[in-house]
Structures are given as C-alpha cells and as structure tokens.
C-alpha cells in the first residue's frame, strides 16, 4: 500500500515538477512573494505584472545557464 502511494506521488511529482525542481520551486516562491506584495498593496498592479514577468524570465535563464555550465565540455 505504502509502495503504491509512493509510486503514485512520485508519478505526479515527476509529471508536474519535471526534471528540474529548481524551476518549480522558483515559480512557487515568486508567486508567494508577489502574493504578499499584492496583499500589502504597496505597489501598483502594472508594476507587479512587469516585476513578475521579468523575474520569471530571469529565473528560467538562470536555470538554463546553470544547466549549460554543468553540461560536459
């Protein structure tokens, strides 16, 4: 039973998160941070939108650069 649950959980983890957990963790962390900023209403919606978009682009580029560095020369 536990083995089946583990297999089930591993399947969904692999399906949603994929083979680079840093991207998933980065997106979730970014959304959480943006949610706090929106809740506190400290900046305008347009700035939140631009900030989130820019942060996501930086996140994926950072992951790709990291992948490239680890790739065999």
């Amino acid at each position: 039973m536990i083995r089946a649950l583990r297999t089930f959980a591993a399947f969904w983890f692999d399906f949603v998160v994929g083979d680079d957990w840093r991207i998933a963790a980065g997106v979730v962390g970014l959304v959480a941070a943006a949610a706090v900023i929106v809740h506190l209403a400290v900046v305008r919606a347009g700035i939140v939108a631009a900030g989130v978009a820019l942060a996501v682009v930086v996140l994926v580029l950072a992951a790709i650069v990291s992948d490239a560095r680890r790739a065999p020369r």
Binding site: F15, I23, V27, V38, H39, A53, V56, A68, P72
Partner: protein, 258 residues
C-alpha cells in the same frame, strides 16, 4: 464569431502540444503493433483514450465549477508556468546543441527490440506486453494534453476550443500514421515544443498575475496594463529572451553529440 488573441493562443497551444505528444505515442503503438500484436496495441490505445476522456470530463467539471475565476487563474497559471518553463528550457538546450534531439526512429527501434525480447503472456485473449506498453504510452503522453486542454480551456473559458485544437491534431497524427505506417520522424518536434513552451509560459505569466488579485484587499483579478494586448508583448519578450539564450549558448558551448 471572431477569435480573440487569447482564443488563438488556446487553440494553437492545444493543437501543437497534442500533435507533439501524439507523435511520441504513435511511435510506441506502431512499435508494439509491428513487433507484437496490432490487436493488443489498438486495445491498449483504446483503453487509454477512454481513461483520458473520463479524466478530461471529470477534471473539466471540477475546474470549471469549483473555484473563483481569480483563484483558478492563479492555480492554473502557476501550473502552466512550471510546465511551460520546463518545455522551454529543454527546447532551448536542444536548439543550442546542449541536449540531444528526440529521435522517433531511434525510439521506434528501441521499443521494437524490447518488444521482441519480452516474454509472451496472454491475458483476456490479448498479448499483455503490447497492451500494457501501448496503454502506458498513450496514457502518459495524453495526460499532458489533457492537462493543457483543461487548464488552458478553463482559464480562457474555451474548453471546447482547446479540445477542438487537440482533437484536430489527434486526427491528423492518426491519419498520417495510418497511411505511412511508420514513426513521424520528420515532424520538427523540438520546434513545436519550443512554440508550445513559449505559449504556455506567456499565458502562465499572464494568468498568474491576474490571479494574484485573489490576495488584493478588494479581491478579483489583477489587470495587466493594456489588457489582452499584454499577451503579444509577453510572447515577444519570451521569444527575444529565448533566442538570446540560444545564440549565447551556441557561441559559448560546444554542441553535445548523442
């Protein structure tokens, strides 16, 4: 009825994602059919399609009715973004030559060798190996399509459009596969995955931001400057950033041969 930018994105992403995934599923089913048993391969395919249909209907009903619009946008946007960035990352690495391209002919040959080496077990009158491998292949590849169709469709209030795009790709892959009877190795899989990654990432960011309105003091969706016009701007940003990454990696890293 005219299509909005959002509708067009939904149809295109569903069509391309479905096409790419079904090309991969077709390779597995063809290998099982050729090496083992067409009857078992087709039963496995049919069973997977039935299960996927049930999941689509169940998920579509739950997603479409159970949550508020902004909460749905936030959850769907976050998931699409995670999904889309993975597709985009792999496509960029493949385009830059740092990751081997997917080769349908090689996959077909590997599946055939494995199928010929596997033992023969008959269950319910079917070659069980061919049935199970075909079922798994279609189910796993199809699950991604179901996910994209349901989430994209629900967020854009266009599940029929998303399903239509996916179904159209399914019909094309099936017809072409049945006619030529071999893997569709000429399909530019990486380019299609790159486009799907761009679209999922674009809509993912768009809906995440709109969904963040859930946390605003007044609730409701957060607005993008320019509304839906932000979509092409986001798409252009992703395109520019990804092309910059590909160009830089090609200049600074030697290609991987595999």
């Amino acid at each position: 009825m005219s299509l909005t930018a959002s509708d067009l994105g939904v149809v295109t992403a569903s069509f391309l994602a479905s096409g790419v995934e079904l090309v991969e599923a077709l390779t597995i089913v063809l290998a099982m059919g050729v090496a083992r048993s067409w009857r078992a391969a087709l039963w496995g395919t049919g069973a997977a399609v039935v299960v996927l249909t049930v999941i689509t209907v169940a998920l579509g009903t739950v997603v479409g009715t159970a949550v508020s619009r902004s909460a749905l946008q936030l959850v769907v946007g976050t998931l699409l973004l995670i999904f889309g960035l993975q597709w985009l990352r792999k496509a960029i690495l493949r385009s830059a030559g740092l990751k081997a391209l997917h080769d349908e002919d090689a996959t077909f040959a590997e599946e055939q060798v494995a199928a010929q080496a596997a033992g023969h077990e008959l269950r319910y009158g079917l070659d069980w190996y061919a049935f199970v491998i075909s079922f798994k292949g279609v189910f796993l590849e199809g699950l991604e399509v179901v996910f994209i169709v349901v989430t994209f469709g629900a967020s854009a209030h266009s599940i029929p459009l998303a399903a239509g795009g996916a179904a159209a790709a399914g019909v094309i892959v099936l017809v072409v596969g049945a006619v030529i009877h071999r893997p569709l190795a000429a399909v530019p899989e990486n380019t299609l995955k790159y486009v799907v990654g761009l679209l999922l990432s674009t809509f993912g960011v768009f809906w995440v931001v709109e969904g963040l309105g859930t946390f605003a003091p007044g609730g409701g969706s957060l607005g993008w400057p320019g509304g839906d016009l932000a979509l092409p701007v986001l798409l252009a940003t992703w395109l520019g950033a990804s092309q910059l990454a590909i160009g830089t990696l090609r200049r600074t890293r030697p290609p991987v041969t595999a």
